[in-house]
Subunit: 586 residues, 2 copies
């Protein structure tokens, strides 16, 4: 997001807070930042804001922009700032001020009668904010103060603002389209997954269709990796804290981990597979002739995310991913890295999302050295090697400081979702540090023990997230080769039951995932249901089809294709599956 | 074990304790029961018994049998029994006495100068025990008092005794053979798995060979289940305690679970998949027309076992299993149960262990009603239905009281391992209780909501344990269709590298798991290594083979089979794999 829009949206959030204080002076202010696509403000209030109240607030915001109040900054000494908070009953602001260094001056912004603790910057006046819209249609949403369940639940109001009404209209239209495709809505409607309050947040359950799609993708990934020389591992999902102390996760990642067992000898669910695959490596002696070793595992990982951050299949507490580690010599690094990048691109192409990705080169942040392990020289050298490889691969990778893993720099593959929001789906990391920590060695040609280099990688994003992005990208119509049901056989009436069964059997025998809908429903109803279910091929069978040993084909991408010999459509579906053909839905 | 041997071994354990007290009077006695294959006695002593001490004890035991001391029972009132324990400094006996009802008489057994608290029965004299042998070759082993890590570690001495020296010799020979095949030894040597102190006990890591074998078996099971009408699920590995309270696990199984998160809102790792698949069932409406629904999942489960009970791949804290639940009407129960039993037998046959299994009908224990949910009438009715099905299937199932799950009776499939020890590998349970607890319903033909019945089942034992028993059964030589490497291509020298590579490629292209050993080692060495690795087909390539486009075949089951056309051996391996042929190793 350009800095200009951040200021614009931040000013809009102050206008929102001003409007709320005018209408509901009893509300306490928490925080109101700009986000990557608008802004929000959190208020402490007895009850959430309902739709009607938001309409009033939005109208008041328009009034404030029309009043075109000049916006000015001023600063107060620490004690006076605290007094301002106390006088105004703003306990959250007080808490924020108390966290600042005691000697410093505290910055405030004022517009008309409204003042807020704020580091700025802001626009010069409220009139510069034009097309404003509050987005919390169903009323305000709940958000814990500081994102922690232990704190009070606040009322959050989301909004957007644009320079021109036309931009706002376009934004709302895009948003509506994206919302229809939101996997968290569509994925439930199509019975890919469900959730349960009794089980807990961030722990989705894949229903048979979702589980089948993930199984297909998993096997495809495992088989492709095997073809490319990877060997499988299957390692435990928990370990004693000792392991994570060795890996550095205990110092650098503990907050994100689930801890179990007794306090003096805790176990933790694993957030990553690395230390487990390193243990496998260390269970054997290795010669330079055995390298590179390429380990992969369909691995379940756990992240102790805060409750407020959960979302469908995307922000979750448990997920499955093809995680792997390549152990190689320095000489092999470049070749191995290219192989890993090539595999990732192959996978993205197989999913039909090769055109939606971009690259990011995530580097360390020299000024926050305590966040990383390893010395400056190694970091800089590793980053320069990685830069070289990225250039050699001709990847147009944006550099991002401070986005590295704690043990090395990363190449991130970024995917832009239907909302236009960018997410990292794949990362490839070069690691010169952990082999040392884990005492990993190989015997070189000269008989000496040397440290190998490790590449951390995945070949496809985590499976739950990949399913979500495919649902959104394809509006629920997964590519044929991943579709849980590839073909539906629909007899027009019971009379054609026997022939329909034989067609269904022939499809199954050919390895096609086919369903027979023999219910005594009207054919129009059955077709509508199969279409709603996004089944790629609908095969209708009536008198004519039975007589000619044919089926009438309605395909998802081309609509009514007319009659076809059964064997012909079977071969076509098989061929399109094997070639992983991706056809736009009709 | 016949009751006669139990008495025999129990008397032998008293002879062991007597010998120890004669030699080391400072030892405190804990307990000394008969086991299914001998006996042990636990002693409290400053340090473990070393080999030399055990030799002395064994000699002293022989002396005691030669002395042929008469063994007599006597009883003491509660208070006097306590006094006996105090006078003799036997604090563990005192603890055991205090747990008995205060009014009762306490039973003792005496032989010569030695007396022990004991319910009996015993042989009439020590001379009846003939061939005695202590088994703790490396010295005594550690065992916590009452199996709890919180208690003091005791020194356990294991022993066996037989009526005839010949029986003992045979036993020791069998034991030696079994020990060589112990998966915990052989499985490590063959690099199927490893463990790590830093990761923790009961958490084995499958190395590439073990992970590959498990992947093959898993896919085979998933595919066969799909063919039989199962649908997949993929559900979270943890849930809030709320879920387990609903399922009854919190009340009946909490000690076996790993708890995480905060005390007031705990989460737990799942010990079973049932409540998760029930949640999937409840995420949709069901009509009687949709039933039965057959869910299956390759599911990872967790059991919080005590540290002392861990062993290789068999006693573990985390394991993966094909768990599934069939939801059906009462009318469908018998047919579905048969289908489940048939699938289990199909799997056992595929693994070649169909001849090693027996059946157990595990019933509730009326006298321990608090261990179960549901009323007596339902339990008795369910058990009688199950008895009927078992009879109809013609299964020769031994009845076992008190071995049911807390929610219903079970049919257990028992496997006898190389030590002759019986273990449950598969259980099938009928459950009339949990559908009620979870509010599961279906709409019947009359439009009314009814409760379905649930069958809990697995189709193959848990994968880690199955791998272990296959390693032991086949002495490490997994059946061809599960062998991680099916064929090794061994060129006699570098000169045949090109042709060897083409053979290797042809094998791979045919879907055979083949390895090429192109190291410049002597052919004898390479063959020996491949044989040690139990590779089913060793294909040697030299001048003659290159000229004739053949390979020289050494098969695991038949030894040297001479020259063969490459295509011929490829077709044979493919065919034997597809048919899952099991051939005894040569």
């Amino acid at each position: 997001m350009p800095e200009e829009m951040r200021t614009y949206w931040h000013t809009a959030s102050h206008i929102l807070a001003q409007a709320v204080k005018r209408l509901y002076p009893e509300c306490r202010l928490a925080i109101g930042p700009a986000t990557s696509e608008g802004f929000y403000y959190d208020f402490d209030r007895e009850k959430p804001f309902v739709k009607e109240e938001l309409d009033l607030i939005e109208a008041e915001m328009k009034r404030i922009t029309e009043e075109d109040l000049p916006i000015g900054r001023f600063a107060l000494p620490f004690a006076e700032a605290l007094k301002w908070a106390a006088d105004n009953g703003e306990q959250y602001k007080e808490e924020l001020i108390r966290e600042l260094p005691e000697g410093c001056e505290i910055s405030f912004y004022r517009q008309g009668e409204f003042t807020d603790l704020c580091a700025g910057p802001h626009l010069a006046s409220t009139g510069l904010v034009k097309a404003v819209k509050l987005l919390s249609e169903g009323g305000s949403s709940g958000a814990y103060w500081r994102g922690s369940e232990k704190n009070r639940m606040l009322s959050r109001i989301y909004g957007v603002a644009f320079h021109k009404p036309k931009e706002l209209a376009e934004y709302l239209e895009r948003r509506e389209e994206a919302r229809k495709r939101d996997h968290n809505k569509l994925g439930r409607e199509l019975k890919y997954f469900t959730t349960s309050d009794v089980i807990g947040q961030g722990l989705p359950l894949l229903m048979p269709k979702g589980a089948k799609a993930v199984q297909l993708l998993q096997r495809f990934v495992e088989d492709e990796e095997e073809r490319r020389g990877y060997v499988l591992t299957k390692t435990p999902l928990m370990a004693k804290s000792d392991l994570y102390k060795l890996s550095g996760h205990w110092d650098h990642y503990k907050d994100g981990m689930f801890i179990l067992g007794e306090e003096d000898d805790p176990y933790a669910l694993r957030p990553m597979t690395c230390p487990f695959q390193f243990t496998i490596y260390n269970a054997e002696q290795h010669s330079y002739k055995d390298l590179p070793v390429r380990y992969s595992e369909t691995s379940t990982l756990f992240r102790n995310e805060a409750s407020g951050e959960m979302h469908g299949l995307i922000r979750v507490r448990q997920f499955t991913i093809s995680e792997g580690h390549l152990v190689c010599t320095k000489d092999q690094l470049s070749e191995e890295f290219k192989g890993v990048a090539d595999l990732a691109v192959f996978m993205m192409d197989a999913l039909g999302i090769g055109g939606d990705i971009s690259y990011r080169f995530s580097k360390w942040d020299k000024d926050n050295r305590e966040k990383y392990i390893g010395d400056e020289e190694t970091w800089e050298e590793t980053q320069s090697i990685m830069r070289g490889i990225i250039d050699e691969l001709g990847l147009d990778a944006e550099e991002a400081d401070g986005e590295a893993a704690f043990y090395g720099p990363k190449l991130d593959i970024q995917f832009k979702n239907v909302y236009g929001k960018e997410d990292t789906i794949i990362t490839i990391q070069i690691d010169f540090a952990l082999a040392e920590r884990f005492g990993m060695t190989y015997t070189d040609a000269d008989g000496l023990k040397r440290r190998p280099i490790v590449i951390h990688r995945t070949s496809v994003g985590c499976y739950e997230r990949t399913l979500a992005l495919l649902i959104e990208k394809y509006n629920g119509a997964l590519p044929l080769w991943l579709a849980p049901v590839q073909a539906a056989v629909l007899p027009i009436s019971d009379r054609f039951g026997e022939y329909s069964e034989s067609v269904h059997r022939a499809l199954k025998n050919a390895g096609i995932r086919a369903e027979l809908d023999s219910r005594s429903e009207k054919i129009g109803y059955k077709i509508r249901e199969a279409r709603m279910d996004r089944i790629p091929y609908i095969l209708v069978i009536g008198e004519k089809e039975e007589a000619g040993l044919t089926v009438s084909v309605r395909s998802r991408h081309a609509g009514d294709e007319g009659e076809m010999k059964t064997l012909e459509i079977i071969n076509r579906i098989k061929d399109e599956t094997d070639r992983r053909v991706i056809l736009a839905s009709g």
